[in-house]
């Protein structure tokens, strides 16, 4: 046995044994695993069982096949889009030189040792392939099992196995291709970051073009989704993205007589093996391209351990070109306005792409909602839009906990500022509350203006109280952040921190939303709902921040 394989086996074996020992001694980690594992195993067994049992009613199966055959292209197109998205995201990661990474420990102790680097790379790839096999097995299983229920006679056992293998080989090929790109980039002069940016522009442009095309089709009196499906099932797209097309074909094989499962599998296998061999042949560039990614991931992991969102983002941006603005912080005022300005700059700088996507999502209802008209089920959702918006405010306000813990990790700076706890905590809430409310107001107004299916006064009432409601809920979460400042990645503390003040948050939510709903029901006027909701919301915020300020004064992390 070679020295390299002995090292790899020793590491695998000892780390597995020590992990199990550690789990046994840590109830906080063991309990969730003991609770979740039987559920996962049961789910997998049921899905496997569904795929293995013979059809119980052949006549019904034939009927169901006849019923589903017209939808073959729809299913195929959806799978094609998903596979394309996966492949594009892998290539994008490769261009950012982030697809192949090792552990920092491997970099420090394995790389300098006199052992075989190709074998280390092979072990890394084999581990990744195993993980890929398990992940795709679970995912594919949960897609195929329902398909097998509705088309039991023609969907044989071989189909399920072949489709899983197809998805796995597709993913492996795409990963290998990405690693080759990463290795080639690291060996050459060119950085992939610019290409990654263009790829993002391409994906964004494609999405916008698709939406505009669908709207154009609708304006021309055609069925828009049919045009999209025609495009995705065209021969041009099929040959341009052959591996995606082959896998998508495998999914719908029971509905289509023309699919050759064996042939498709053979092509995918050849692609995976060839690309894998090419990566192994480029051992050195593959290793060197992984150095920066390894260090970046290690820094991100360390930041995750601290659960400090700004450290995580800073680690993610390390090595990228993020330029500051030459004029410093915007001058919004003095005192706690400096905190508002800082949060604003930080938010914009840390995720400009995220902001562009959020802005597009906010105006997307103008295009998407008209497309939903005429679809019975989608139309049925519309009357519940105000309730959905309120639920969104409640759910999203919980992010304040993250922001607060992030700020409190710089407590030595905060505490030394000559500001009252109340104004400081309010300043910490202003940017997340303002940003989210702006998004909700734009997207909610877009929904209300683009369809008559929603109740306009109800929607505008919700939008008018959104900032106050978010701030009131946020003040409760600030208290939660002050009571449980240390967010250990271990499950137990996280659960306690998240659940502790949830009943109080629900009470505040009911008070603010209830007062606005009551005023709207009594007067029918949006302004009355706005006045009632905002007054209750501001009062709740003052009480919440008052309590939080009291806690802050006594707060020592």
């Amino acid at each position: 046995m070679s020295r390299t394989s002995r090292v790899i086996r020793f590491l695998f074996w000892r780390r597995t044994v020590n992990t199990l020992r550690r789990l046994r001694q840590s109830p906080a980690q063991l309990l969730p695993i003991l609770i979740l594992t039987p559920g996962v195993i049961l789910g997998v067994m049921i899905a496997v069982g569904v795929l293995l049992i013979p059809p119980y009613d052949a006549a019904w199966a034939e009927d169901s096949k006849r019923f589903f055959t017209p939808f073959t292209d729809n299913v195929r197109s959806i799978i094609m889009v998903l596979l394309l998205a996966v492949a594009l995201s892998l290539i994008h990661r490769a261009l950012e030189e982030d697809l192949l990474a090792f552990r920092q420990s491997e970099l420090d102790f394995l790389f300098p040792a006199p052992i075989s680097l190709p074998q280390i790379l092979l072990a890394r790839m084999a581990t990744d392939y195993l993980f890929c096999a398990l992940t795709t097995f679970t995912l594919v299983l949960y897609v195929l099992a329902p398909m097998r229920i509705v088309m039991p006679s023609t969907a044989g056992r071989g189909w399920a196995l072949a489709t899983w293998l197809g998805v796995m080989l597709f993913y492996i090929s795409a990963t290998n291709l990405g690693r080759l790109v990463q290795a080639a980039l690291s060996a050459g002069k060119w950085s992939g970051l610019a290409a990654a940016k263009w790829l993002r522009f391409f994906a964004l442009g494609l999405s916008i073009a698709l939406l505009v095309g669908l709207l154009w089709d609708r304006a021309q009196g055609r069925e828009p989704f049919e045009s999209a499906i025609d495009l995705l099932t065209s021969r041009l797209i099929y040959w341009a993205f052959l591996p995606c097309g082959l896998v998508a074909d495998m999914f719908v094989a029971p509905l289509s007589e023309s699919v050759n499962l064996g042939g498709s599998l053979a092509i995918l296998l050849a692609t995976a093996v060839t690309s894998g061999a090419a990566v192994l042949a480029l051992t050195r560039p593959a290793f060197e391209s992984a150095l920066a990614a390894t260090q970046r991931r290690h820094a991100i992991w360390q930041a995750f351990r601290k659960a400090d969102a700004s450290s995580i983002r800073a680690a993610q941006l390390a090595g990228r070109t993020v330029r500051g603005n030459p004029y410093g912080l915007p001058r919004l005022g003095s005192g706690s306005w400096a905190l508002v300005a800082k949060s604003l700059v930080y938010g914009i700088r840390s995720s400009p792409w995220g902001l562009i996507i959020v802005a597009l999502l906010a105006v997307a209802p103008l295009g998407v909602v008209p497309l939903m008209e005429g679809h019975e089920r989608l139309e049925g959702v519309m009357p519940y839009m105000p309730v959905l918006m309120l639920a969104l405010v409640f759910a999203w306000s919980q992010r304040v906990r993250l922001n607060v813990r992030e700020e409190f990790s710089h407590l030595s700076v905060l505490k030394s500022l000559p500001l009252s706890p109340f104004s400081m905590l309010l300043a910490l809430l202003v940017v997340p509350a303002g940003g989210f409310s702006l998004f909700l107001i734009v997207s909610g107004s877009a929904v209300a203006e683009s369809t008559s299916l929603v109740n306009g006064p109800q929607v505008y009432s919700v939008l008018s109280i959104a900032p106050a409601l978010y701030t009131a809920l946020g003040s409760v979460h600030v208290c939660s952040g002050l009571l449980y400042p240390s967010y250990d990645p271990g499950l137990s503390k996280g659960y306690v921190a998240d659940l502790a003040l949830t009943p109080v948050a629900i009470l505040v939510f009911l008070l603010v939303a209830g007062s606005a709903a009551g005023a709207l029901a009594l007067t029918g006027a949006v302004w009355a709902a706005a006045v009632a909701g905002n007054l209750t919301g501001i009062a709740a915020t003052c009480v919440g921040l008052g309590v939080a300020g009291f806690l802050y004064d006594r707060f020592e992390p």
Binding site: R3, R6, V7, F10, L11, R14, R15, N18, T19, R22, R103, Q104, S105, L107, D108, F109, L110, F111, P112, A113, P114, I115, S116, L117, K189, W190, S191, R284, E288, L291, H298
Partner: protein, 237 residues
Amino acid sequence: MKRYRETTAVDGLSITLQPGEVVGLVGPNGAGKTTALRCISGVVRPTDGRIRVVGYDVRAHEREAKQRLAFLAELPNPYELLTVWEHMQFVAIAYGTEDILKDRGEEILHRLRLLDRRNDLVLTLSKGMKQKLAAACAFIHDAKVYLLDEPLMGMDPKGQREFLEMVRETASGGGAALVSTHILDTAERVCDRILVLSRGRIIAEGGLDEIRHRAALDGGRLEDAFLTLTESEETAE
């Protein structure tokens, strides 16, 4: 030379270590110290130039060269789910020196005051103890050349003293060490020769007197000479 796209991390670097010699590598942040050590250790390949370790070319005879090298990375991250002793075992397997591990490993752990933690998982160790463990791992096999990147970071004074003694003993036994450090007092005290690196190039080399002479100083400490040299280099750029 090592180049990363437009950035030249190390340029025209020529270092020869003699047996029994401890050489200090000092320089400001980003001077190329870590890159230089990584190139010599075989972790990365130089864009241009050759590196030979005890006669073995690192590129052509990578494993033979690495067998004769010991590399202690800056802020090392030992495997957290191994115990201290298992970590030593793992390194001994990697270097093929399991036969001497029992006696030698225990002695090294004893000297660095880690023996009583030998059965503890690495994740329970403090930063300084992890540094000591990584340092201990560097001494398990009979290396001829020691590449030590900021080896004293996080170590307590007693650990630092013991570690430096181990380095000196190794040198007395015919080994050579290249120590990258920011602690100039240590470099002054322990190293036979000092290389001052700035922007990937050596700007001064020799004993303390030669470095002082190069900085045009009559007396003073290494720190004064270092600051004079690096500041004049930055001004010249």
